[in-house]
Symmetry: D2
Subunit: 302 residues, 4 copies
Amino acid sequence: MQLGLVGLGKMGFNMRERLRAAGHEVIGYDRNAEVSDSESLADMVGKLAAPRTVWVMVPAGQVTRTVVAELGDLLDTDDLVIDGGNSRYTDDRGNADLLATSGVGYLDVGVSGGVWGRENGYGLMVGGDEKFVERAMPIFDSLRPEGDREEGFVHAGATGAGHYAKMVHNGIEYGLMQAYAEGYELLAAASEVTDERGVLKAWTRGTVVRSWLLDLLVKALDEDPGLSQISGYVEDSGEGRWTVEEAVRHSVPAPVISAALFARFASRQDDSPAMKAVSALRNQFGGHAVHKAGPTSGSGET
Amino acid sequence: MQLGLVGLGKMGFNMRERLRAAGHEVIGYDRNAEVSDSESLADMVGKLAAPRTVWVMVPAGQVTRTVVAELGDLLDTDDLVIDGGNSRYTDDRGNADLLATSGVGYLDVGVSGGVWGRENGYGLMVGGDEKFVERAMPIFDSLRPEGDREEGFVHAGATGAGHYAKMVHNGIEYGLMQAYAEGYELLAAASEVTDERGVLKAWTRGTVVRSWLLDLLVKALDEDPGLSQISGYVEDSGEGRWTVEEAVRHSVPAPVISAALFARFASRQDDSPAMKAVSALRNQFGGHAVHKAGPTSGSGET
Amino acid sequence: MQLGLVGLGKMGFNMRERLRAAGHEVIGYDRNAEVSDSESLADMVGKLAAPRTVWVMVPAGQVTRTVVAELGDLLDTDDLVIDGGNSRYTDDRGNADLLATSGVGYLDVGVSGGVWGRENGYGLMVGGDEKFVERAMPIFDSLRPEGDREEGFVHAGATGAGHYAKMVHNGIEYGLMQAYAEGYELLAAASEVTDERGVLKAWTRGTVVRSWLLDLLVKALDEDPGLSQISGYVEDSGEGRWTVEEAVRHSVPAPVISAALFARFASRQDDSPAMKAVSALRNQFGGHAVHKAGPTSGSGET
Amino acid sequence: MQLGLVGLGKMGFNMRERLRAAGHEVIGYDRNAEVSDSESLADMVGKLAAPRTVWVMVPAGQVTRTVVAELGDLLDTDDLVIDGGNSRYTDDRGNADLLATSGVGYLDVGVSGGVWGRENGYGLMVGGDEKFVERAMPIFDSLRPEGDREEGFVHAGATGAGHYAKMVHNGIEYGLMQAYAEGYELLAAASEVTDERGVLKAWTRGTVVRSWLLDLLVKALDEDPGLSQISGYVEDSGEGRWTVEEAVRHSVPAPVISAALFARFASRQDDSPAMKAVSALRNQFGGHAVHKAGPTSGSGET
């Protein structure tokens, strides 16, 4: 089918390739003329036949909201906008309502798969009305991995459900990554194990912990033994925070996902104000030397 | 090759099947005569040709140590004992030294794969001397999954390394399971998502969080929708504890693995003494009704 | 000085007593006529001489916002409203702006001290303009503990700072309570210590962990040895959640405060969906009996 | 009464002062001749009249065990050794048994109070036989704070109970310190609060979180505003680790105390291997720039 695609960055570019390879006609628009198929959003819309379907794949937040609003002005009744970015699910209701004033439909889609999606297919989680989901199904079927539809696609619920599911997916991802990372650090710290990369590799088939993330960790260690070329400064892109906030909102204990998030925060601190306070306290009550390198003992205090 | 196999429970039984299917001659011994191939440990040893290799697959701890000691009396120089149970790595040095007095070799092997290993193969992590590893390699090659050896097997280091690696594997496993579990609970709690099983299923291909554990969680939900037939009381079998203790010993931060372990502990408490203390404190300073069901507010206190 | 006081519940009632004992004229209003000094909010306002100061001590959230709005209609230029409830700091800007349209001033005050405040005085954290802080200082000085003003009172910053400080106070409180509670549970679990109440009591003077909360825990144990009369079901009143949300917003690692919050969430679950998922997973890969009471071993899995 | 005191470091020196001020005769021994009252352990013992009581206040572990063994050789039936250092409780049984072969008694005493104990008195937790506790009571009564005995002293149980209680005391201390530290960091991070030192100070009277540790934190901030002279590198002296290990042993959930311990571990890492692994993983699946400073978005991944 025909699709307008706004945003041809790392994700959008690859998705266009995958869709075209599947026989779809994709009219892309990006501010970067080198990759764009059209001169403007309006130009792109003009090249689409009604009823139009436009997939938005731009940075979450204000950029996405602005593009959606502009599309609301350019599109007509029975057209459809799909937000496939990492928007917070709380944005979806507003986007849907705004477009509804022009009779335009809206789907929110959580997309997973990263740079590997072009080849392997993307995991898709969709929120919105069934009739729009059906209309866009040819696109979804081409983006998701080959095989059973339900192994790479879900219509998770009404508006917002797609991004909600993607948010939880990413929250889980934080926990999984941290679990592997803690185990890796322990293997590296223990003199008993002399080949930690080999241990991780041996887990990639047959074991309970096998996963795609584990495969990637082995690949990273093969490319950079000892991870010597990389720093432990770890960014986050928001979904982990939202997951913790949702856990708080729903009174769901999330010790693992929150611990993974906080580990990232701590990784970005040159010197932690909290730990300075702990150090100051130890100094106050125990007379512990503040920078003293060895353990202290017999002092009656911690 | 020929192998003695002590312990034909859930794991040992399946391993015998897999080894026999691969053409090995396995003489098993188990206290349960219905599954045993021999009448006693001595009888089993008597049926093996020197140099003998005996795989021990019995409960970790005292049972394993006792069997190893008995084998030390029954075996001769250049024979080999392999402990494939979930022994703590700290047991391995003692076992190896004890057997060495009889000239008997020792390998410790961490085995992963659970009840699925018979079909899929087992992930193997081995500790000990290279010459014994090579001798037992036909067995290892048949137990591990088909394909590249290093994707299902590692000689991780000297005595103890195999069980150390398996311990860390299981510690990671605790973290992974808890991460999925927290995400599942959040999906179930949020009204936005109406098909949490469908969401998990849609993650099994193409997404970043795809893994064998995720496949199993979907399978569990298919067999028991809503997990209504299962309680949240979760045992542990020791490796998670050991992993946390090793993290403490090596000053490795392990917030995720420890959180997963403590969540299991808490799951087994009918009423937590700690939370009774918190409740008592709230009552003391705030006059909060102790069982009061709704949130309190405006009282100046938490 | 003269003060209108809206809300004569647990906190407001005691504060009126303390203020009257200090010689202030307090005109209280409460929906409960038995404790009220006036028939309505309007009646209360009518009994105050301009410029009026009205302290609001009602449940946080909609109730407080409604009372503040009603006071905005009843009061005049240069009057002052003080919100002493446990409002979220994000409410303060709206309250202040609304009142400003009538020329009425606004202070937000975090109040700590619980039911003991009447006797010991209340810790006060104030946000808002200096001129209003000064006007209300006679009230603050009477509410706070005797002694140096800065040991029980702070003008923490502009509008919202008082409730922000109170929120963090309560977040810390969650962490402190949980720390004592974990230690208490461990003392109770260990056979080495036969008098855990005595141990806690011995900490109340001279040790590094002495505190008012510790005194209260000893008191609770004296009143209810073994805490047998209390359940481990622990409510929360919102500030702990807000603190975690603020930590997330500011990228501040808060592992202890969040762990304390999540422990409360878990304490309120009869059966945890997350732990059901973990139990189901163990069953899937290991064939572990789902409710099995003893540790499992030698099975190759956790 | 008369007391031998081995170890005149930070703690022992102050304790000698406090005991002498209370009228006791203290014969100290330390390797540092400048502070020692005797030339050797044997010399010190020779100056004591039977039945002798010797208090050991040296670094925990091998040093303490060695001193206790030497005292076993020097002392006679009915003499008494008291280990007041921060020994792990598991050392006490061995010490007691060793001394018992010479008919010498043994008490283990956890001592809290740090450098302030000389003036304020020390909190004391004692393990061992009642008859020895009674004999040493004049010493205990002089070391503990004035006032009710049970507010600064407890006979917590049999051999090991004193150090066990001290261990838990210190574990709690880790949690308390971290709770204050997280709150401090949040106050410092939030622009709403402009006087975080003032807020902490205002909590020192009247509030629920008041404590000696809070007083010390205010003192530290007064001495070093913003804690600019101190680094966030925080040592630990063992008791926190032991507490976590005991929690694991007793299946007691200890999320707060373990989080506080792990925060210290992390504070000492220049670059975390675990976080390098997380960073490497993000790079693998998302093509995230490894050091990229800003948040990433719209990429479909975390």
